[in-house]
Structures are given as C-alpha cells and as structure tokens.
Amino acid sequence: MKLKFSFLLTFMLALILVLAACSGDGGANSEADDGENESEAEETDTGSDGGTDDEAEAEASGEQVLVFARGGDSESLDPSSTTDGESSRVTKQVLEGLLEFDKESFDLLPGLAHDWEVSDDGLNYTFYLEEGVTFHDGTPFNAEAVKTNFERWADPEHEFAFTDDGYVYSMYGTMFGGFKGDENHVIKEINVVNDHEIVFVLKQPLGYFLQNMGMSYFGINSPAAFEEYGAKINENPVGTGPFKFVSWSKDDSIVLEKFEDYRKDGLPKLDRVVFEVIPDNAARLIALRSGEIDIMDGLNPDDAAGVESEDGLVLHTRAENNFGYVGFNTQKEPLDNKQLRQAINYAIDKQAIADALYAGYAVPAKNPLPPSYMGYNDEVEGYEYNLDKAKELLAEAGYEDGLEIELWTMPVARPYMPDPETVSQIVQNNLAEIGIEVTIVREEWAPYLEKTMQGEQQMYMLGWSGTNGDPDYFLSSLLHGNNVGSSNRSFYENDEVDELLDKAKLSVDQDERAQYYQEAQALISEDSPMATLVHSRPVMATTDAVKNYVPHPSTSESLAEVEIEN
C-alpha cells in the first residue's frame, strides 16, 4: 500500500513537471524541433503573441490547416433535410448549388450552372451546366444528377428520399411551395435536354426562383453517394465543392480536406479545414487568443471593442440579414386597436436597445426587412422614439388612464435577440412611461413557438433571419394573411398587403417586384402589426494570419479563397 501510493504520487508530480517543462518554452525553441515533435510544438506555441507561431509551424510542415470554432455542432451534413445554419455552414464547403451568392451580398453569381435563361412568361428556367466537373467520388456531374437531387427533395416516394428514416425537406417545401402533388408546389417538371442543359418547368411564376438556387441548402450531392450511403447520406456528403468531407466526430469536430480536382484553378488555398465545437463563448475567445483556433463565430458584442484593439486579432462583422421585433397579436383585445399599436411602437426606444445590447453592432429597424434587400422602402418613416406622440395616440385609442398588457419573452437567445430578458425589461420600462403596465410572461421555447402560433399571446418577441436574400421570405412569412396560424404570429391580415405580396411573388420582373414590396412596407408600417427593433450585425473574430475571409450575411461562406499567412 505504502509503496504504491508514494510511487503514484511521485509519478504524477513528475509527469506534471515534465508536461509543464515541455510546454514552457516559447516559440524560439520549438522552431528547432524536429518533425516528430511537430504536433506537440504546434500545440504549445500558445504565448500571448496569438496564433502567429502556430501558423509558422503549419507552414513549416507544408500544410495550411484552418480551425473554425463555433458554438454548436451541425445537425446533419445533408443540408436540405435540416434548417440548421451550422449544417449548411459546413456543407457550403463540400456541396455546390446551381448558382452562388456574391461574397458579401445575395447577388447571384454562376455556380455549377455557368449561364441561365428565363422564359418571358417566367415558367421555363434553362440552366447551362459546367462541363468536365466531377464529384469527389469520381462520378461525373451532369444534368441527370441535378434532376435526381431535386426529385429527391420534391417527392417523398423517391428512392433516395429516405422518408422512412425521418428525412423531411422542410426548406424545400418552404421555398418551392410544398412537395410533389401539393397544389402550390411550383415545379411541374424537370427536363434533361442533354448532359449539360436542364430545364425547370414551373406551374406558375415564382419571383425568387433563382434566389433559391443560390441557397446552400440546395447543394447537389453525387447520385452515386445516395446509392452507396443510403440514409447515411447525412454523415457522408459527396459534392463538387472545394473541400472533401473526411470525418465527423459528433459534438467535437468535422474535418474537410482539399479537393485536388476542384473546378476552379488554384482553389482552394487551404489543405484542410476543421470545424470545432466550443460551446462556451468565453472559452472560444481564449482558444483564439492562445492560437488553438483561427476563426471564432459568435463573439459577444461586448467583447468586440476589446478584440478590435487587440494585437493579433481581427474583428469581422456580418452584414445584417435579420431583425428582432416585438409583435402584436392584431386579432386579440386590446391590440386589435391600431392606434394602441402605434402608441406602443412610438414608446419603445429602439436606439437604446441597439446601444444596450449590441454594443453598437446593430441599427434600429423601421421595416421588417434588412436595409440591403431589394425593395427595401427607405421612405417609410417608422416609429422613432417619441413619448408625446405615443401619449397622444394612446388617448385617441381610448386608454388615457393606461392599461395592463402581457409581453411574452423569448426564453432563448438568438442572433437577432442576444438577450431577450433585457429587451423585455427595457420595453417594460418604456411602456411604463406612458402608463402601460407590462406583465412579462415566460414560456419554454417549444411551447412558446407553438402557443404564439395559436395566438395565445398579446405582445410577444421574436425575429427573423434571411436565407435566400429575397424580401418574400421576410414579408410573406411574417405578414401574409395565408400564414396566420403558422409563421404569421401577429395574426396580421390586410387584403391590400396580401395582394401586393402575391403579385410580387408571381412576377419575374425584379424592378416591378421591388415596387410592390415597397408599397407593402408602407401599408404595413401604417398598420403597425409589430414594433421592429433592430437589425443586428453578428460579430466574429479571426487571428490576423487569416486572409481573404469574408463573412456572408447568410452565415454560410465559402472558405475556398481563405489563406493562412505568416
């Protein structure tokens, strides 16, 4: 007993000393380390000088490895069968769609299709596909592959739909009006003209059909991979993208490596990309400072100023692609009163919320649409904080003596609402100023979403993030009468607005569409079905060795051009 214990104790102490000693030396010594100690040296070069030594090591071994850390793991690597942004962030590197979005906006660029044509009636979309492209498994990419993928999403009976294994392509359903056999499903048929030409025939025009084609959710998988992996396709993506999938250990890391035969010459620049999960924001920032990771998603806005002034780190912001709001149930007492809704809207201090919660990385919102979007109506005046107007309208609404009202508070943080609790308190204080007493209601997330869909709430909080860069996804989802009882939680029904949104959806003339959306926003603003709060600009950080990294507003950006520089 005695011997064992003292031996173990000595052994442990010795081990700790040895480990500490190996790691104690700075960058200077490890430079001289031989190849065998590569991994260890890389690990230990974690001085205050950020990641630079690390990259020097990586360079020395001839490999460019980028570590991208985020807060949560991907749900699936079959992006079409999930709505999870962490999934498409990864598959964006592996799978490609027919079209792509520009680096910093939702403008369309060629993807797997180098050219495309739309017929005048907006019913025929012809795509001319890149030639000589192969999937990572060697299967040639052709029109038949595109058709297989789209039919898989549209038809639950399709041999690769894997319906029995729980696959549901909800993003496809949302974007293309449903599935095969549904009345509103827009794709009538898909015709393969030849290997490199494919025609989508629609039942009715869809104004944002091309925008959908740029979404990373609709990346094209190799048909051979469906045969090979079956329902395990969600763990084995095989695309044409710049990086090949290598391995995935759940809740830990996903490893991708360079696809040597990528269709664009000289790309990708990195040899490997590792997506790491680091759930804690503070721990993630420490890992960035110590050089263990190169890019961190999900920086706290409060840390942004510190990162900006810190040597060795670079602050990045995503363009705003969302908005947070306080919604009103417009079909329920007392908020069925328009003047009351307007009064409340005037009484909420949006600028104060932007300053308090986003450390300046947000702009007050006056429309339920991000400002960079087509058809954004900048002439709408909105509801700038104005207590006098609020009180006046409150009196007109017949509530000069004030009233009591319920506000449902989101139980989870979202990019558009990083701290719902504080927002609800600010709103509570704001409304107290005009004599409205706010009771805060708390629900768990799932019942919160369910009950607000059913209209149990008076006031509630939520937000919306864009996916295809089209106004329809914001305005129709949130405010079209057809979506009452679904995603229109304000129960807002205005025939004029509905008509404008319908016309805009059916038109393929983008200028005309923009016009309709602007008109709709003016009407919506007047009706005030929601108090739009802010558009947030999510912040993230990289080491200064990371070059050419451009965050995309959709949160999924290609890393093909990213480099690590010494």
Partner: protein, 333 residues
C-alpha cells in the same frame, strides 16, 4: 461471491426498467414537441406536422413506450431524432470521452485527496492539517465553471502552457480506435500525440476532480482519526512499528472502506454530471450528449443516455462492493 454478483446483476433489470418508465414520463412531460424545436421559429405548421409524422410522434404515449421497451430488450437503444443515427453506434465516443476524463480526474482526486487526508490525520492540528482542510472546504464549495475559466485564462491564455479546449490538437488529430485517445495514441506508438492528449486532460481533470478530491480528503481524515484511536493501532505501536508503517499499512486498510464508498459514488456522479466541465472545455462527453438532446427534445437519446449513465453508476457501485471484500476479508456477502 459469484452468486452475489449474479443476484446484483439480476436486480439491475427491474431497476433499469423502472428507470426507463421514469425517464420516459419525465421526458414527455416537458412541454413542447421535438419537431417544433428542431425546425425553430421559421417553420410553418405544415413542416412541423410532416416532421412529427415522420418521427413517429403521433402515436399514443403508451404505444411509443411499448415500442421503446421492446426495442430495448432486443438491445436496440433507438435512433436519434436529431442525427437519425443509431444511438448504440453513436454513443460510444461520448462514453469513451467521459470515461477518459473521469479516470484522470479521479486519479488526481484520489492521489491528492487520500494523501492530504492521511497527512492531516497524522499531523492533526498542525499547520498542514489546517491548510489542507481549509483548501478542502474551498474545494468543495468551488463553482466549477469559475475554476475552469480561471484555469483556461491562466494556463492557456496568459502562460500558454496548456491547451484551452478539446481532447486533442484539432490540427493534427488521431485516428480513433477505442476512442480513449491516450490509449489510441499508445496503440499507434505515437508518443508525441499521447503527450498532446495528456496535456489536454490536465486542466479539465483538475476542474472536474477538485470537488471529489476535497470530499475524499475530508473523509479520509475523519476515517483515519477514528481508526488511529482503536486498540489494534495501540498494539502495533506497542510492538514498536514505525509511524509511517502504522499509518500506511495498518491504519489505512481499515480507514479506506468508507473512503472507497465515497470514491465509488463520486465516480458515478462525475460520469453523469460533468456537463459544466464538458461544456467549458468542449469535451464531447455523455453529459453534453444528453444535454444537447434535452435542448432538441430528442426523446430516444435522453431516455437511452440516462439509461446508460444509470447502468454505469450501478456497475461502479457493484465494483466498489466487490472491492470491499478484497480489502477487508471480514466482509462477506
């Protein structure tokens, strides 16, 4: 002895079935359905209905439970709603990660805890005793997340000695065999990587091991003090044995029994309850697995995950009971 072990194992069956009933009920009492949580705020009602249907959540609870238990009896832990993978194949890396961390945390806790307890009892009321017990008190009441963040801040960010997160160097990963990375690296005879993995273990092991260490130290001390007063120790002393031998050979054997109980219980607690440490150090263990599943309302994973944790807990306690008989032959079952 053998009969005893068999009896204990047979008793496990009703215990585990009872566990499934409890977890199943609790899980389904949590408000909100998984389809809604998985699809989030942008989902419309049709999408939610479709997903619910495909996940088999429209069946009555009793039918769902029946299917679950009958699968379980056939060794099928079910399929995760979130990842669509078989839980039985998915769960092993998580278990291995947690085991590896727990083993190192307990080695740390036992070596430091037992020795500190012994020395405190030996030199009762000395400055060492005083300091060690103060330290133990602080250790027991230490908020783990704070300790973990302080460790990361000092040893990873400021000093740069040790890595801040994860199980291994993500730029240079190991090809997993057993998913015990130390073991895997040794199987590959890859000593630099084994060293890297060990370094990744240090900070989380200390964070996780601090509370058990403190509890073990206090338990050892009080148990030792009691044994030291007993007659047979006086006899040994009268025989003229040295102090060191008296303590480590004669006293410890009897004093260690209650300590062993505490060690067994603490190991069980660490295996299931390391969520905080696993979260801060990004350790993909069983605690995180179940925690993420709760967020997603991934019923099968919650149920089977808790079941596996309970199973491990029971087995560890059984092992502790068997160890008693090895240490103290007077104990018989």
């Amino acid at each position: 002895m053998f009969a005893y072990i068999m009896r204990r194992l047979l008793m496990l069956i009703p215990v585990l079935i009872g566990m499934t009933l409890i977890t199943f009920s609790i899980v389904h009492l949590i408000p909100g359905n998984p389809a809604q949580v998985i699809l989030g705020e942008t989902a419309n009602q049709t999408a939610i209905d479709d997903l619910e249907e495909s996940m088999g959540l429209n069946e009555p609870y009793i039918v769902q439970y029946g299917i679950y238990v009958s699968d379980l009896v056939q060794g099928d832990l079910g399929t995760s709603l979130r990842s669509k993978s078989e839980i039985s194949s998915e769960i092993w890396p998580y278990i291995a990660a947690t085991f590896e961390l727990t083993i190192f945390a307990m080695i740390f806790a036992i070596i430091i805890g037992v020795n500190a307890g012994i020395i405190s009892a030996w030199k009762q009321n000395s400055w060492f005793d005083f300091l060690a017990m103060l330290f133990a008190l602080v250790g027991v009441s230490m908020p783990i997340f704070w300790l973990a963040l302080m460790e990361q801040w000092i040893f990873a960010q400021e000093l740069g000695w040790l890595p801040a997160y994860g199980r291994q160097d993500s730029r240079d990963p190991i090809a997993p065999i057993t998913h015990f990375y130390v073991l895997d690296a040794l199987i590959h005879l890859d000593f630099p990587r084994a060293l890297t993995v060990l370094k990744h273990l240090i900070l989380p092991s200390i964070a996780l091991g601090t509370i058990p260490m403190a509890i073990i130290a206090r338990m050892t001390r009080s148990s030792m003090l009691e044994v030291m007063k007993s007659d047979y120790i006086r006899t040994v002393r009268a025989k003229g044995s040295g102090q060191f031998l008296i303590i480590y050979k004669h006293a410890l054997k009897n004093a260690i029994i209650p300590v062993l109980t505490v060690i067994g219980l603490q190991t069980g607690v660490l295996l299931g309850g390391a969520i905080l440490t696993e979260t801060i150090f990004s350790w993909p263990g069983i605690g995180r697995y179940v925690y993420e599943a709760i967020n997603y309302r991934d019923y099968p994973v919650i149920q089977s995950g808790i079941l596996v944790i309970a199973f491990i807990f029971v087995i560890i306690n059984l092992i502790v009971d068997i160890l008693y008989t090895r240490i103290d032959p007077r104990i018989k079952y």
